[in-house]
Each structure stands twice: as C-alpha cells, then as structure tokens.
C-alpha cells in the first residue's frame, strides 16, 4: 500500500469534516426502551470516559449483570476498564490540581496519587491526610519509553517524571506504585528528606506550587475548600465570627470605611485567615516546595518559624494578627457555616496542614463534595448543592459506609437515574 501523503490526508479531512457534520444532522433519537446491549455499552463508556467497540470483552459481563438488574455490579465490572483510571479519574484529578482548573493540565503528582488511591481502594480521606505518594515503577514502563525518575531532579525539583508519564503507551493504571512517606527537598544539602507535615494531596508539589507560590498562603485554604468541599470563597463568608486571626496586611478601613470591612472583607478573611496558619511553614520557589521545619540555616540548625509572607505588609493594620507558628482556628463553624460543612471530631487545637486536612476530610461536606466530583466526572454534567442536596447527602452517607471508597462511589453514582437520564 502506498503511503498516504499529508496533502491527501488534508483533503480527506476536509471531506470527512463535511461528512461528519452531515452525519451529525442525522443523529437518531435515543432509544426509549431499555436495551441491555446499548445500556451496557453506555455504562462502560460513561465509566471509562471513552468509546468502546461493540466487541469489547467487558461488555458480556456488564450486560449479564444488567439483565439480572444488578446495576451496581455492572458498574463494578466497568471500573475494570483501564481508562476508568487513565481517563475518568485522571481528568477529575487534573482539574482539581491547579489554579487553572482544567483537564489540559500536565500530568502531575497530585493526579498520580489520586489515581493510586482510587485504584488501591484506599480511604479517600487519606487524600488529605496521607503520608504517601505515587510515582511510576519504571520496571513496568514499556520498553523503549524513557521516564526520567531521578528523585531530586525529576520528582522534587520538577514535574518531569510525571509529564513523561503522559506518553499514551504508558498504562498509568499499571505503572503507578505507592511510596510510603512523602519526600521533599532540603535545599542546603540538596537531599530529599521526609515531609514533617504530610497531608496527602495538600502537600503535593502540584498543589503547593499552584497555591503557595508568592502570595500570602491564603490561597491553599481557598482552594482546599474549593476542590474538596466544593465551596468557593463567596459561599463561606461569615461576618459574625471573630476577626482576631485576620492578618496585619488586611485594611480594616478600606477607602476609609470600616463598615465595608465589617460587612464585606471580614466575611471571607475570618475563615481564610483562621485556617491559613496551617500553611505558614510552606512555600514554593526555585521549582521546589519547601517546609521551614526541614530547611537548614548556614550553621546547620533548622530554620523553623513561619514564612515571612504570612506577616507581610505590617503597616496596613499593625494591630492585626501576627502568625508565629502553624496553629490555626476553625472559624467556619459559625452560624452561616456550621450546618453546611458538618464538622466532626475534635477541631481544637489544630496545627499544620495534616490537622487541617483531617478536619476537612472528616466533615460531611467533604463526602458530599466527593459525590459531586464523581457525579460530574462520570456523568459529565454539573450537579449543584442547591438543586440536588438530598441526592448528595444520601450518596455521601453511602460513600462513608463503604469506608470512603471512591471506586465504589463511582459504581453507585454512575447508575443513578440522575446520571443516566
């Protein structure tokens, strides 16, 4: 067969676009009656996030379960498809991993660990509390494909290791392996050391580099709530709680008007500044994430203390809160927020990101948010707390009953009427 030239392919593409658009006009309506073959294929495609041929080997088992009215089991078979992890879970994680919130984000340590937690059926709360991470087992990478895996240069000081894993021929679902103990860089010795405050994805390179770069370390709090509580900042503003934790860099008289602070600025800052002490030792610069409790002074002693950015712009309101350690206060339990977040367990005192992650992960809202995330991911449509609160709460409880299994949550949610219709 002759090699088809680029010119021919371009011409063919034009004709093909035309044909595809005309075919789109002739799209048939969905079948009204339940057809097990069709439903099995739809379920597999929903969970794998990809189209599958009618001859796909998983389809007979899925169909058999559907015929027996065992939809949950059918969905369980569908999660065996490699693209459940390689596409559906990966894209959900990528979207949550950075400030841009897009699936076009480069593969990173956040997504790798997320995939690993789902694959290995770990308790989803460890996403915010775990002292582990997932990297590639290079022995499982197909021959001929290079995945750079030197810990300092390719994992801690760059995203190279993970971006190398974007190669289509690498099955992420197979090559990822857990590493106990998160490792970060001790820059003066240029060695990796154990993370003194490991908190799963919250202390991943992707998350810290996105949210603790420059700024004042309020953004890690904001995005933790945004991604894991499905609660953007304007959702949790509460002007009725104490403002004693609000930093010195926040003007109490914006434009000369204290009322504006009291009724507007304060609402978000009470919650955000209350929590931000948790991240006070974290920073991202020179391409690596760092924690002051492992960084060394020139004399070899631990740097300790907090990042200077926590106490920047001291002249704006000198009587504001001065951060001296990684303690934090949960101010999201005032009248406006207590019922919404459903805090559980001991909330005081809190120190560091791990404690912060535990409070988030143990809340009822975290479970509800995971239902929403999984629903959006598998069903590819948005579900809101305003419209579907009872749905989210119901499946959140079931999610908790499974031991916070995201894989089983996918199974449950993907076959709900809300997802299918």
């Amino acid at each position: 067969m002759k090699t088809v030239t680029l010119k021919v392919l371009l011409n063919v593409s034009f004709l093909s676009v035309t044909l595809s658009l005309m075919l789109s006009l002739a799209l048939p309506s969905s079948a009204s009656a339940v057809d097990a073959d069709r439903e099995a294929k739809r379920l597999l495609e929903r969970i794998s996030g990809t189209k599958v041929p009618a001859s796909h080997p998983l389809l007979p088992r899925i169909k058999s379960n559907i015929n027996a009215n065992k939809w949950y089991e059918a969905a369980g078979v569908a999660t065996e498809h490699p693209d459940f992890l390689n596409v559906t879970v990966k894209q959900m994680a990528l979207k949550m991993s950075t400030r841009e919130e897009t699936i076009q984000t480069a593969f990173n340590d956040f997504a790798a660990t997320f995939i690993g937690v789902v694959r290995d059926d770990r308790d989803a709360r460890t996403l915010l509390t775990g002292n582990f991470q997932y990297i590639a087992d290079v022995n499982k990478v197909p021959t001929g494909i290079m995945v750079r895996s030197e810990y300092n240069d390719h994992i801690v000081k760059s995203n190279t290791h993970f971006s190398d894993l974007e190669n289509l021929n690498i099955p992420l679902n197979e090559v990822l392996k857990p590493i106990d103990g998160q490792l970060i860089l001790q820059s003066r010795t240029n060695t990796v050391v154990y993370n003194p405050d490991p908190a799963g994805l919250l202390t991943s390179r992707a998350f810290i580099s996105s949210h603790a770069v420059a700024g004042t370390n309020r953004r890690p709090v904001e995005f933790t709530f945004r991604q894991f509580m499905c609660s953007p900042i304007d959702d949790w503003a509460d002007t009725t709680v104490s403002d004693s934790r609000i930093g010195r860099d926040i003007d109490r008289y914006p434009g000369g008007d204290h009322t504006k602070f009291q009724v507007s600025c304060k609402g978000c800052h009470t919650v955000m500044d209350g929590f931000r002490g948790a991240f006070s030792k974290w920073n991202f610069s020179n391409d690596f994430i760092s924690n002051r409790d492992v960084q060394l002074n020139t004399n070899g002693t631990i740097v300790g203390g907090v990042e200077g950015k926590l106490n920047a712009n001291t002249g704006v309101f000198p009587n504001g809160y001065v951060t001296t350690d990684n303690s934090f206060v949960n101010n999201a339990r005032g009248p406006a927020n207590e019922a919404k977040f459903g805090w559980r367990g001991n909330l005081d005192p809190g120190y560091g990101v791990k404690d912060f992650g535990q409070q988030i992960a143990n809340s009822s809202r975290f479970s509800e948010c995971m239902v929403k995330r999984v629903f959006d991911s598998a069903c590819r449509k948005d579900i809101s707390f305003e419209d579907k609160s009872s749905f989210l709460k119901y499946y959140a409880r079931r999610f908790e009953d499974t031991g916070y299994s995201l894989k089983r949550l996918y199974q449950m949610v993907a076959v709900t009427e809300e997802c299918v219709k």
Partner: protein
C-alpha cells in the same frame, strides 16, 4: 488527487457553515447567503436533540483513546505526532459550546491518522481475515465498489465505531459522499486503486469525526 476546490460545492459549504455555526457556535443570526432555508431543514432539530440528550464532547485524551479502542490500532508515531500537534485545540471542559471549527478539523485529522493505520493494517491481511474492510478490494478502482459492498462496510464501521447500524438517512448521506467523491476524481485517476483507499479513508474518518462518536 482530490482538490479542495472541487469539494467546495454549494451544498457542502452551506452545510459546513450553517451546521458549524448553528450547532457549535450558538449563532442564530442570519448570515448572508446561508441563512435562508438552513434552519428549517434539520439544523434546529439536531440542536434540540443535543440539548435534550445532554451530550458532552470528548477531550483530546478521551478521543485519542476512543479512536484507538474502536479501531484496534496501536499508537503509531504518526498518530502520536498528530495528537501532540492538535491536542491543544481540543476541548478542556467537555462543553459542546466550546467546539470550534479548528477543533473539528483537528479531530478529523486525528481520525484520519487512525483510519490510515487501520486501512494499512487491513490491506495487509487476506480479505477473509479482515474485520472492517472485508467487502473492499483495495486493488481495484473505486468504481468497482458496489453500493451493497459500501453499505455493508458502513454497517461494520457503524457497529464498531458507534455501536449500532447506521440509519437509512446516515447511509444516504455517506452514499452521497461517495458519489461526490467519485465525481471529484480528476480524469485519468478514476481507475487508480489508490482512490479506493481514499474513499474508505474519508468515510472512516467522517464517521470517527461525527457527533455520534466524538460525544459521550
């Protein structure tokens, strides 16, 4: 050789422009020369079908894996190169509203690479061992491909790509495409067996780039 000029026949231009604008750009306004008649001939129907059925468009990652899955073609370097060159143009939020004309062309280009590999793979097999193109004799001129052979091929592609047989309307569109294709072949090339490959390539690509395939 097929030329773009010959493909730019009025009907095709109207369909491409109006369908693209109406379906994917939410452009309901009148476009000189194209607005008359187009909205009343099915375009609004497809729009309402899309709205009712809650479609989302597949991302680049999903599409490339979907195409590999249904064609059974491995990720050849030509495919990976095409994918890497085009993926930035594909959707980043699954929304049909994010679809653009360059995105559709990119999807078709990616699909053409898969179809090209698929044809190459099948041509190397005996007719009896082929899965997709056991009705097609790639050593003969395109004029020897009968309607029956072509329609059977469409059903095979439909089952594998879309999970169903094509409707009569869809077959009619693709048969019309075949006719247009053959009519566009320059004199002197009509007996070339290569044109048979090109016909199958364009048909296969068209089906991989159709809404039925690129949405979930």
């Amino acid at each position: 050789m097929i030329t773009i000029k010959k493909l730019k026949k009025p009907m095709f231009v109207i369909i491409v422009c109006s369908a693209t604008m109406t379906l994917f750009m939410n452009c309901q306004g009148s476009i000189d020369g194209f607005s008359s008649g187009s909205d009343s001939n099915g375009l609004t129907t497809i729009q309402s079908k899309i709205e009712n059925q809650n479609y989302t468009i597949q991302s680049s990652d999903q599409l490339v894996r979907s195409m590999a899955s249904v064609t059974g073609v491995d990720y050849a370097s030509t495919i990976i190169n095409e994918y890497n060159a085009r993926k930035a143009l594909m959707t980043n939020d699954y929304s049909l509203e994010s679809v653009t004309a360059p995105m559709l062309v990119s999807i078709a280009n990616l699909g053409s690479q898969f179809c090209n590999e698929l044809i190459r793979k099948e041509v190397a097999l005996t007719t009896a061992n082929r899965i997709f193109f056991n009705q097609i004799d790639f050593t003969k001129a395109v004029s020897t491909v009968t309607d029956a052979q072509f329609n059977q091929t469409l059903d095979i592609l439909g089952q594998n790509f879309w999970g169903r047989n094509l409707t009569a309307e869809e077959k009619s569109i693709l048969n019309q495409g075949k006719l247009e294709f053959i009519n566009a072949i320059p004199t002197g090339s009509s007996t070339s067996a290569a044109q048979t490959q090109y016909l199958i390539l364009s048909t296969c690509t068209g089906m991989l780039a159709a809404l039925e395939f690129i949405t979930l």
